[in-house]
């Protein structure tokens, strides 16, 4: 076939899309710089070893200084004096987990809904009573161990990776298509002999190229700076990421299939993504939702992707494992069904 120096249309369409992305500085920032910044922020917020002392506020007044000195002697506490006026703010902002009001006996002021505050109360109560001369019947020997993979940060990183994959897929594809529609470029393309499926496929293919930095950078940081374990094989990880990106590409196509303005697509994409940030267990476990909601939560593509990533990274699961296979099946369904609907209802002009 004579193409006059041009390559296969799918190649040319993918190249055209990639050129557009690489010539757009903002897009490069999100794809390459943002994952690095995010990883650095995590490395700072979650140092790889040592446990933070309990932040205790001591209300200003008689005996406050003595208490502060006594607590400061133990490395387990980081006591500071707070004024009565400033107390509520310090508690609310999490500057202190608990406020100790000196007296006999002293009073503990804290919000029992906060896990850190409850832990602070136990530790403080124990320390104060022991100082006051409590006789313990026995002291249990403690074995301090640190299990890589059991820390919050280890659990968080795969969640953020999954969130990045889905966000770039949906945003990138949806915006590029709505822009082409606005500029009447879509209409021009279908006036040529271009195959429509080639155009849509090229959007998804171009998007896949960004997977490498998007997934790679946070994982390298996680592994070598934060000490997150990487137990599964890289091939499995690549396959899970690829399926996740392809799957959400279908959702991006569907969102853009009839949308005509940037305002409408922004609203639509936020409507799709924001509930998943909350419901899919990126920042806290999705199992916290009541059982009645679980079928919905588990069926979300981001839940499936994040669970599969965690299983591979933290537990070393393989593709053959029941959990990973199930999550991949959910992702595949999310990839195929919206893609087919999008093809059917897509408005080319």
């Amino acid at each position: 076939m004579n193409r006059g120096g041009a390559s296969h249309p799918l190649v040319e369409l993918t190249l055209a899309r990639l050129r557009e992305i690489f010539r757009e500085p903002e897009a490069l920032f999100w794809a390459f710089i943002f994952p690095i910044l995010m990883s650095v922020a995590m490395a700072v917020a979650f140092p790889s070893s040592g446990s933070a002392p309990v932040a205790v506020g001591i209300r200003q007044g008689d005996g406050a200084d003595a208490l502060r000195a006594a607590l400061a002697a133990s490395k387990a506490f980081a006591p500071r004096i707070v004024s009565a006026a400033d107390e509520a703010r310090a508690l609310r902002d999490g500057e202190v987990d608990l406020v100790l009001v000196p007296g006999t006996p002293p009073t503990y002021r804290f919000d029992p809904a906060r896990a850190e505050s409850r832990a602070a109360r136990l530790a403080l109560d124990d320390a104060l009573k022991r100082t006051a001369g409590r006789a313990d019947p026995w002291t249990a020997p403690e074995e301090h161990i640190s299990l890589p993979g059991s820390r919050y940060v280890d659990w968080l990183i795969p969640g953020l990776v999954g969130m990045g994959i889905i966000a770039t897929s949906v945003w990138g594809i949806a915006f590029s298509i709505v822009q082409a529609r606005l500029r009447k470029l879509l209409k021009r393309m279908v006036a040529s002999p271009m195959r429509r499926s080639h155009y849509l496929l090229a959007q998804v293919l171009a998007r896949l190229l960004f997977l490498l930095p998007e997934v790679g950078v946070p994982l390298i940081f996680g592994r070598y700076v934060i000490g997150m374990p990487l137990r599964g094989s890289l091939v499995t990880l690549a396959i899970v990421s690829l399926v996740g990106a392809l799957s959400c590409g279908g959702i991006g196509l569907l969102a853009a299939s009839r949308t005509k303005t940037f305002e409408a697509i922004s609203g639509l994409v936020n409507l799709i993504l924001l509930p998943m940030w909350i419901a899919s267990g990126v920042f806290f476990s999705a199992s916290r939702f009541p059982p009645a909601l679980q079928p919905f939560v588990q069926a979300l593509p981001l839940t499936a992707l994040v669970d599969a990533l965690r299983a591979v990274i933290l537990e070393g699961a393989s593709l053959a494992s029941r959990q990973v296979a199930t999550e991949l099946a959910i992702l595949a369904a999310w990839g195929i069904v919206p893609f087919v609907i999008a093809l059917k209802i897509f408005r080319w002009r």
Binding site: R3, G5, L13, K184, A191, P193
Partner: protein, 249 residues
């Protein structure tokens, strides 16, 4: 092989209460340059987009190069060159990349370098589309239509908004295409453009055909010019038949 490049009979298209095209019939021979003239909102764009297979008429029959859109869309797209009124090509691609992209869709056609020469954009080969002037963008848009060496070229207001020099440059490209045996259908509201380029013109108003002939014959129907200093133009033909001016400025 018939002598007809395309024809349509009894075309109807309405948008809600508005009738955009109202019983239009046209027949254009191969090798002809045919102009569709009329004011904004006359139904020119709707007509050309029906012929281009981008819109389906509510009623009427369309045949292009002896084929029908319903049964031979892919083959027709390979043989047609289309330039739309409002297309903005991708800003971030260069002239050459844009042409190569469009070239990849066609089984036959011009080499990209050859085409750049044809539309006088060799010097802009590596320039981004966003850096082109209006006339250069329009020539690129026409080049994208010519890339598959089409039998038939559809142009929707190709010179609207261009300065006189850019218009003449574009006319030159179209004349060369015709010299090679190509057929052109163009819409315009520039009377002088139709007089220079077209063998025959159809004047449409409110979706209806109100006159169809060679520019010369149409002007001749005006009879003796009433004002001595003023030679008859297609603008006068439109005025004489509708009592309105083509462009209300």
């Amino acid at each position: 092989m018939t002598d007809i490049a395309f024809q349509c009979t009894g075309l109807q298209k309405r948008y809600g209460d508005v009738v955009a095209v109202d019983g239009l019939s046209l027949s254009v021979r191969r090798g002809e340059c045919f102009g569709l003239l009329g004011p904004n909102g006359a139904g020119k764009t709707t007509t050309i987009e029906i012929l281009e297979g981008l819109l389906t008429p509510d009623a009427g029959d369309v045949e292009v190069l002896g084929l029908r859109w319903a049964s031979h869309e892919h083959e027709l797209r390979q043989r047609l060159g289309i330039q739309l009124q409002e297309t903005q090509l991708a800003d971030k691609l260069t002239v050459e990349e844009t042409l190569r992209l469009f070239r990849s869709f066609y089984h036959r056609g011009h080499d990209v370098g050859e085409l750049l020469q044809l539309v006088e954009l060799e010097g802009k080969r590596k320039s981004c589309v966003s850096k082109l002037s209006g006339g250069q963008k329009q020539r690129l848009s026409v080049a994208c239509a010519l890339v598959g060496a089409p039998d038939l070229l559809f142009l929707d207001e190709p010179t609207t908004g261009l300065d006189p020099q850019s218009r003449r440059q574009l006319w030159g490209i179209l004349e060369r295409f015709r010299a090679d045996g190509g057929t052109i259908l163009l819409t315009t509201h520039y009377m002088d453009e139709a007089e220079v380029l077209c063998d025959r013109v159809a004047i449409v108003d409110q979706g209806k055909l109100i006159a169809l002939d060679t520019p010369k014959a149409l002007i001749a129907t005006l009879g003796e010019p009433k004002v001595i200093t003023h030679h008859g133009t297609l603008e006068d033909v439109f005025m004489a038949r509708t009592g309105r001016r083509l462009r209300e400025e």
